[in-house]
Amino acid sequence: MDGGTWAADRPILIEGCDTIPKLFAHRCRLKADAVAHREKDLGIWRAFTWSDYYDAARAIGLGLIERGLGRGDPVALLSEDRKEWLYVDMGVVCAGGITNGVYTTDSAEQLAYLVNDSGARFLFVENDEQLDKWLEARDRMPGLELVVVFEREGLHDFEDPQVIFLDELMGAGRAFGEAEPRRFEEALAAARPEDTAMLIYTSGTTGPPKGAMITHRNILFQLTAATEVLSFEETDELLCFLPLCHILERLVSVEFPLLAGCSVNFAESPETVFDNLREVSPHSFTAVPRLWEKIYSRLMILRKEATGFGRWCFDRAVAAGMAAEARREKGEAPPAALKLRLAVWDRLVLRNLRRMIGLDRARRGTTGAAPISPELIRWFGAIGVPLVEGYGMTESAGVATANRVEDNRIGTVGPAIPGVELRIDPTGEILLRGPCVFKGYWNKPEKTAETVDAEGWLHTGDVGRVGNDGALTITGRLKDVIITAGGKNITPAEIESRLKFSPYVSDAVIIGDKRRYLTALIMIDQENVEKFAQDRQVPFSDFASLCAAAPVQALIAEEVAEVNRAFARVEGIKDFRLIDVLLTAEDEELTPTMKLKRGFVETKHKALIDAMYQGA
């Protein structure tokens, strides 16, 4: 972890390439007819090669250059994960532009904000649904010149001088390429490592979203560091399902394959992830804690519904796995008897479990973007899916610290990846320095200065501690620190993640800043609480009535009491309320990765909160 070796001017090269476009062209040349992407069309997986990838990106890039895309121009991209997302991304980046992904769950309002803030002149949209967002807010986006739509479905009669379809843009691009055959290759060679390759807007819980500029060098650094921490092989199959607008999925599904040449399979939709996971059976799988929790609950429900004998086998098998996992954690090799026991149970049970969830080929699972319960990591380890947690943020261009499969310090987010310096400042805030630190916020130098100091330290806003082994433990967000009316400092994240460990709690927000005591707003896990109610014959009709049912309230009260026992009395949660509307990713209270946003929750549910402090 010697920062000096990573001086800002030291070039980072991968196979002789110092920018993403060069690496992309290089990989496409090498892999040519190998499968780059698979996408399901009418129920059948179809393969697309690296040559398809390059040709499409080239046509799109040239089409944009012909239409006047300049070096450093942002291009907005509003689509679900699909191969065209990557085609456009590479087309834009090779042509010298900057890709700015927009979440499909964003409203027309938010789209207008992002387009205006970035100053994008081009917008790519997936289909008529997303196009309607532009149509709704087009008069608020005067700077936008051209909208390119991927799908024609439902738009056959639609005509607008500002709108063309992707095949038209690509056709024009190919024609332009005939006339100027060197243009695209010249453009992609012109990129410099310090140029911005992507613009990623951070979900602004305080103030409007800010566009983080990630450079080619940032990404290449991630790739070199990744090879040391995580292994990707050429024959690997990956499954892409998290939003590509998010730095995590972007790295995993767009950038890492450029390095390793593995194939990316696109999930059909967020609803079909579990089926797609089984079909693809990826070699490594990156997901957010929420999804790992879902896989766990699915298996636990299967266990409940199994025969008595099946349950007994399941429990014995997991117990054997847990015993081995406990040894591994202590750094000991499991004794021969345990090894044998595990091998038997693995053949009989665990192997089938892994096949059922589609992780039978997985060398590792990775989790990030939100805190995960250590118990869950151990459990997956026990069934033979090594799960490692990492830490990072948009501003650190993705990963900053990570655990390794062979040295998994569960409960921590691992040591800093090679090349990254890690420091805790006196307030407890985590500081990072190194080639992973982003270039700054788009058009907001004052915000950049608040985040990256003169010495190059990135102020993460997270609070944590570093153990003697160098592994980092995150305890919460600096901004979220609650100071109760009694003057006690409390980091709510610790209490919240404890609450979330309950299968019945999907998310929780602890309230208590400048208040006499702590309270909680809790979002219940619909599936598991419904099952609880069903098993106990608790009548309910819709979600609100489920939340209002007395046995459900009692259930959550018991979960809260459980958490209270684990913390000091002063930090006890005195009261709680359930959020009785079923939130979706479109709601402003949730991030696209389905986390509650404290700020929004506090204002939107003010009445509920105030009710908990009445008469106090």
């Binding site: 008529d128 009669d157 419904e530 014959q537 608790v538 009548p539 079923l582 979706t584």
Partner: protein, 269 residues
């Protein structure tokens, strides 16, 4: 109209029919995934849902044609789930099935008398027959005609009339609008409303035609894939954006292109 209205022990507004966590299966296929609902006395409660949502299964579970795997059906607080359909009818649940299902070779009057098969009070039956003819004059006109020769609308009236002849505590109406012209739908629903207002008949109404159903009902539940996703007063449901878009065919404001193919995501609130 001098027939006595049928107030029974329960007061208006008290729960006549209650379902608690009902789960019903067709072999391995779970059609109802835990449904709880209440039908108060003297009210019309409608169950909305698309094809395959489980509406008819729900009706069949109440009337005893199907037995729930879990959960219970209570009529005035007494458990009726698990009973045979004829016992359920005797207890006061009349099922007017989807597609009428009148006896085609029996006359109209014979069909109506079949409805009173479980009763022995001759005077009461005569009164009720008069009541049915009063509400459905066309049936009186054609009482000697085989039911199979009636039009679809008339058969529907006959089926409802037959249900009334059991003097039900609650009447289950399964898609009375099915296959009827808009004028007939209007007519039948006008009669349903009158029966409810004037005779205090409690009804559980299953409909695909959400528009008419919510206009006559007091309360509604939305069933999707065997689960209740929304519940509330009819006015609340009528005002909900999801009901408007998915059941009433209204489209939310964004109509820039004059057409819309994609569907909003449902949130049911």
């Amino acid at each position: 109209m001098n027939v006595a209205t049928r107030h029974r022990a329960a007061e208006v507004g008290e729960t006549v029919l209650e379902l608690r966590n009902v789960e019903t299966f067709y072999g391995p296929i779970q059609a109802l995934r835990g449904v709880s609902l209440e039908v108060p006395k003297g009210r019309i409660v409608t169950i909305l849902g698309a094809n395959g949502a489980g509406k008819t299964t729900l009706m069949k579970t109440v009337s005893g044609v199907m037995d729930p795997e879990k959960g219970e059906v209570l009529l005035e607080g007494e458990r009726i789930s698990g009973m045979d359909p004829d016992a359920v009818v005797k207890r006061g649940v009349a099922h007017v099935p989807e597609g009428r299902e009148v006896f085609p070779f029996l006359t109209v009057e014979e069909n109506l008398r079949m409805g009173a098969f479980t009763r022995s009070d001759t005077a009461g039956i005569a009164d009720d027959l008069a009541l049915v003819y009063d509400y459905f004059p066309i049936l009186a006109e054609r009482k000697g005609q085989p039911a199979g020769t009636l039009s679809g609308g008339q058969q529907q009236m006959l089926a409802i009339g037959r249900g009334l002849m059991t003097r039900p505590k609650v009447m289950l109406l399964d898609e009375p609008s099915l296959g009827l012209s808009p004028i007939l739908v209007k007519e039948i629903f006008a009669i349903i409303r009158r029966l409810n207002r004037e005779q205090g008949v409690t009804m559980m109404l299953v409909e695909q035609n959400a528009n008419v159903a919510l206009r006559v009902a007091h309360k509604g539940y939305v069933l999707e894939l065997g689960r209740i996703v929304m519940a509330g007063d009819a006015e609340k449901l009528l005002a909900s954006a999801d009901i408007q878009e998915f059941y009433l065919g209204h489209q939310a404001g964004d109509q820039q292109r004059g057409q819309k193919r994609w569907k909003r995501r449902k949130t049911w609130r």
